[in-house]
Amino acid sequence: MDKCYLGVDIGSISTKGVIIDEKYNILSQNYIWTEASPISAVKELISTLSIPKGYKLSGIGTTGSARKLIGLMLGANVVKNEIICHAYGTLNYYPDCKTILEIGGQDSKIIIINNGIITDYAMNTLCAAGTGAFLSSQSKRIGVDINDFGSLALSSKNPVKIAARCTVFAESDLIHKAQLGYKKEDIVAGLCKSVVLNYLNNVGKGKKIKEPIVFQGGVSKNIGVVKYFNEILNTKVIVDDNSHLMGAIGAAILSSKESSDKEYNLNMNEINFETKGYECKGCSNNCEIVRIIKDGKLIDSFGNRCERGTIAK
């Protein structure tokens, strides 16, 4: 039996999963919307992934904002943050890559790589301005389907300047521009451009962006944003067909590095898994603790700011 590995990347907007073999070839993959419920999203995702005949699952890695929770749920052997996973995933396909630009649902980041080692990184310091969530809420506001966003932007000849440093400003500005009667495509193009400018001025500030540059995360599927990255950086950024999967692939690769002979299974339906949030009254810190209950048994809790919270198990 050959070994294979599962990587799951649970973001705020979408949940991605891959199964890879020992040579890191993708055997199975899928992505679905998280819709604010990581547990059911992962259950659904796993049910669509299949382990090919002749393989056994030898490791599970989780990443993304709900990595801890899902890691516990799946019994993962590796739970790692998105930055490391994205870097590992990307380096597998582009070993020479020097810069990774990533814009996801709520976070955006830049990772600088030198000889295959992360030497520097940064994430958005302020709010969600300029991330995927921001783009999709603005697209709703102007009545454009998020999937048509990129192609609509490409048809614009005169992108409108939109203030995008702060969501509050951006929204009022957008409404204003729409009322002034600007063309939809120009507004959409303006938004795409402002996402890029905002990213380079905030996340990318002071970072040495060297080629080859790989652009990924959900927003990398937006050809409008890609266009302005190319235009402003005066280069051609690489967008892989699997760009949205890089985090999951990285998590799977990491789990392969730490794997043992243990065999994992993916039979999720029989497991009853739930989380309960409550305010810890153990000390007077009132932490919000998430308790994770598997088959009626409490298996872990987190969210506590002090040691006392762990006793609350």
């Binding site: 310091t125 302020l126 409108v160 300047k161 939109i162 203030a163 440093r165 702060c166 400003f169 009022s172 500005d173 409404i175 204003h176 521009k177 009322q179 001025n201 905030n202 500030k205």
Partner: protein, 293 residues
């Protein structure tokens, strides 16, 4: 020798003083042009993303000047005495700029707590430029007298405007925002086209008349702004507060004053000069309110 003067920040407090000072010394001066898109873009490029719009503006003007002169004049103002401080940006501009650009900075420091006066600052400049003390002193006095005269004329005009029959709106904000081509000027033009008489907060002689609104205020420039309100509150019809995002002192002081105000006002905060998100509409409706009084 050619001294570059950025048309931003300090410029709006000292422009006449500087102009006449260098004129007397017969030193060539280049003032950066009115803020334009190129300058603003340069500012955004070189500054830290979280800096206030006015700082970015200043950095843009310096970026514009850096290859066009031998020195760039960048003062540092720490305080005008114990409870006359400036925003911390005025304390740090010199070092911030010095670490961004490789330029020759002509710098003087004002710190009255430490007895470093403006005159001493100008003498310092003279030393750096190799000009004798007596000559600098003469130039400084000449420039002081000349610039005071100009200010006096402007103040008188401002006071005269207070007697105008038109609706009068007091524009409260830092001069570097009010008079900037892209930040304040569009608002001034809008008001003028709506037949409003604008009263400028920096064109008064005030003597700490801010305590009607704030007793513990310790920023010199905010004191001046707020004192102007006390000076003319009974003779104006409304107030426009203009700030750049996210101005530290204004965020507190304007909020406090607004809470104590019994006149119509609007609070305008500008973050991005190219996309001012409906400021026009807000000004228009504000003027409507003022007109209906």
């Amino acid at each position: 020798m050619k001294i570059g003067i950025p048309r931003s920040l300090y410029y709006y407090y000292f422009k006449d003083l500087w102009q006449y000072f260098f004129e007397y010394l017969n030193i060539e001066v280049i003032v950066s042009p009115e803020t334009n898109k190129q300058i603003m873009d340069l500012g955004v490029k070189y500054s830290n993303d979280e800096m206030c719009l006015s700082m970015k503006n200043y950095i843009g003007h310096i970026a514009y000047l850096k290859d066009k002169c031998t020195h760039i004049l960048i003062p540092r103002i720490d305080n005008y005495g114990l409870s006359n401080q400036t925003c911390t940006n005025f304390l740090s501009t010199y070092d911030i700029i010095n670490n961004i650009f490789d330029i020759n900075i002509l710098n003087y420091n004002i710190n009255l707590k430490n007895n470093e006066t403006e005159l001493k600052g100008f003498l310092n400049i003279g030393r750096k430029l190799g000009i004798n003390k007596k000559y600098i002193k003469d130039a400084y006095i000449y420039a002081r007298v000349k610039s005071s005269k100009i200010k006096k004329e402007k103040v008188l005009k401002n006071l005269k405007n207070l007697r105008s029959d038109k609706r009068k709106i007091l524009l409260v904000g830092h001069p570097y925002n009010i008079y900037d081509k892209l930040i304040g000027e569009p608002i001034i033009n809008m008001l003028k086209s709506l037949n409003i008489e604008i009263i400028y907060c920096d064109l008064f002689y005030t003597k700490n008349e801010y305590d009607r609104y704030s007793k513990g205020l310790y920023w010199k420039y905010n004191k001046e702004n707020i004192s102007s309100i006390s000076k003319c509150i009974d003779r104006i019809d409304g107030i426009i507060f203009l700030s750049s995002f996210p101005c530290g002192p204004d965020s507190l002081v304007n909020e406090l004053v607004i809470r104590k105000l019994d006149k119509p006002y609007i609070n305008i905060i500008v973050d991005d000069v190219e996309s001012s998100g409906g400021i026009e509409t807000r000004i228009e409706s504000f003027v409507d309110i003022v007109n209906e009084l």
